[in-house]
């Protein structure tokens, strides 16, 4: 009876081992079976020197991490590993050793895997860059698992998935979003051309009038220097104001990588109202600005967040047509800051609400359908949110952003 049982167990074990080998070979994941045992001796040596915390020690001694790698023996690799890392040559790959496939920049990943193993974690996974025999590098999803039963023998399993395509697609997506955000700003600036021209013309007209007045005071038999002094100061102020407007437009029109900084949301709302003064006036919109005092700053790119505020305000002004009231309010909210943009327009049709933030969905004649999706992607990129609803009088957009820590 006992012998039968043993035979059955052995048989089951063989089948299990066979199944494991099949999976090991057939998976599209690159697997490395490693013998970690010699690394244990190295770690014990370090511990004897009085090192208790391996993390800082590994960071300070990259050569030691390399040493651990060289001590790690490759037991076996699957076909995918040979194809991915070894250019199809298994013998060369096994001979090169683990060390050859780890770029310096990824040393920390190996170190973290070692720490995870010795602290009894069941596995460790991260995204990193790994190398190939011919000296190339690729983006990899790295997983190390430390099953207790094999760890006792000192073996562990590493899985590597080539995520080059995904990383490339993400980069392309980010670039596409940046281009769309830029296109939307340009389109918005186009809509606001009359307002912008007005904002520049106003100080220019003032400068021309002040200069002419100055000439007249100077041309008198007894030039009035005091009058001229006042006028020159006014000219300087108006010139600065025109330059300010041009600077804002240029920032909006420029394409550059976002630069997050700690910003005052209140300040941004006030600036947006200056930017839109003419647009608001042209529509006869009444503006109510209700800003909470002592709000913490938020972390965002100034131009991008400005785009969000301007976009929401322009939408509201346009939705109301002639007249109406635009209300912008800010408030603190559990470690976050909230901005509400409310109008007294017709509101948002109920069936449009779920699709409002989808690209190319628009309810405006001649609208591009990119304004709100871009607002959302800008806000999400800095940990914020945006929601739309119908309030008592019209549409209400609520933006929340985490307070900058």
């Amino acid at each position: 009876m006992a012998e039968d049982n043993t035979a059955d167990l052995l048989d089951a074990l063989k089948r299990s081992e066979h199944r494991y080998r099949n999976i090991f070979q057939a998976m599209s994941v690159a697997f490395w079976e490693l013998d970690f045992f010699p690394v244990g001796d190295l770690l014990r040596g370090v511990r004897k020197q009085g090192v208790e915390d391996f993390g800082p020690y590994f960071r300070k001694n990259p050569d030691f991490v390399r040493q651990m790698m060289r001590a790690t023996r490759i037991v076996d690799v699957n076909d995918r590993t040979v194809a991915l890392h070894g250019g199809g040559d298994k013998a060369r790959l096994m001979a090169a050793g683990l060390d050859a496939f780890w770029p310096d920049a990824s040393l920390g990943v190996y170190a973290a895997a070692v720490i995870a193993a010795v602290t009894g974690k069941p596995s460790y996974a991260t995204e990193t860059r790994l190398g190939t025999l011919d000296g190339g590098e690729f983006d990899a999803l790295f997983t190390a698992s430390f099953p207790p039963d094999t760890m006792n023998k000192g073996t562990l399993l590493i899985g590597v998935i080539d995520i080059t395509e995904r990383v490339r697609a993400q980069a392309q997506l980010a670039q596409l979003q940046a281009e769309f955000a830029h296109a939307a700003r340009i389109s918005m600036l186009g809509e606001l051309t009359a307002s912008i021209a007005h904002e520049v013309n106003q100080p220019l007209a003032a400068i021309a009038a002040s200069a002419a007045a100055g000439q007249r005071w100077l041309a008198r038999d007894e030039p009035d220097i005091e009058e001229v002094r006042t006028l020159v100061a006014r000219i300087a102020k108006d010139a600065a104001r025109a330059a300010d407007t041009i600077g804002r437009v240029r920032d909006m029109a420029m394409r550059r990588a976002p630069e997050p900084a700690a910003l005052s949301l209140n300040g941004l709302v006030e600036e947006a109202m200056v930017f839109l003064r003419h647009e608001i006036q042209g529509h006869g919109t009444r503006v109510v600005v209700d800003l909470a005092r002592g709000l913490p700053p938020v972390l965002a790119d100034r131009t991008q967040l400005q785009q969000v505020v301007v976009n929401l305000a322009v939408n509201a002004v346009q939705a109301m047509g002639e007249g109406g009231t635009l209300t912008l309010s800010t408030a603190p909210q559990d470690g976050a800051v909230r901005l509400t943009v409310a109008d007294t327009g017709p509101g948002i049709p109920e069936d449009s609400l779920p699709r409002l933030f989808q690209s190319f969905y628009t309810t405006k004649a001649g609208g591009m359908g990119m304004g709100l999706p871009i607002c959302r992607s800008i806000l999400e990129s800095c940990g914020g949110t945006i929601t739309a609803a119908n309030g008592e009088a019209g549409a209400v957009f609520t933006v929340t952003m985490p307070a900058a820590g």
Partner: protein
């Protein structure tokens, strides 16, 4: 009358309003400044003025509304209008309302002076 002519400047943009007032004063005229047509009309100062320089687009009543209100009240003080808007229809309405001059921002100071002098001479 020994006093120099009084010019009302109606303009919502503070900086431009102050500059035009400065220009008017440099010409030797007296000036009064108003930030809206509504405020100017409410003050009932129109009859005391010799000329009015007004922006068209302002919160509340526009410069055109101002001129029409004056005409209705039988006040014939010459009105010079200033605008940054370029729409032909708006310019047409401004002229039709009886403005003596229509200036586009940014206007040359000389053009405003010319308008002012011819309005006062009339």
């Amino acid at each position: 009358m020994s006093q120099s002519p009084l010019i009302a400047v109606v303009e919502d943009d503070e900086s431009l309003r102050e500059s035009v007032v400065g220009l008017v004063r440099s010409l030797g005229y007296r000036a009064s400044a108003w930030e809206s047509a509504d405020a100017f009309l409410a003050a009932g100062e129109a009859a005391a003025c010799d000329c009015i320089i007004t922006d068209i687009q302002m919160p509340g009543a526009t410069g055109i509304d101002l001129k029409l209100a004056l005409t209705e009240a039988g006040c014939a003080v010459p009105v010079i209008m200033v605008t940054a808007r370029t729409e032909a229809a708006l310019h047409e309405r401004a002229r039709a309302s009886g403005a003596v001059c229509l200036l586009k921002k940014p206007f040359a100071a000389e053009a405003l002076i010319e308008c002012l002098e011819s309005a006062l001479a009339a």
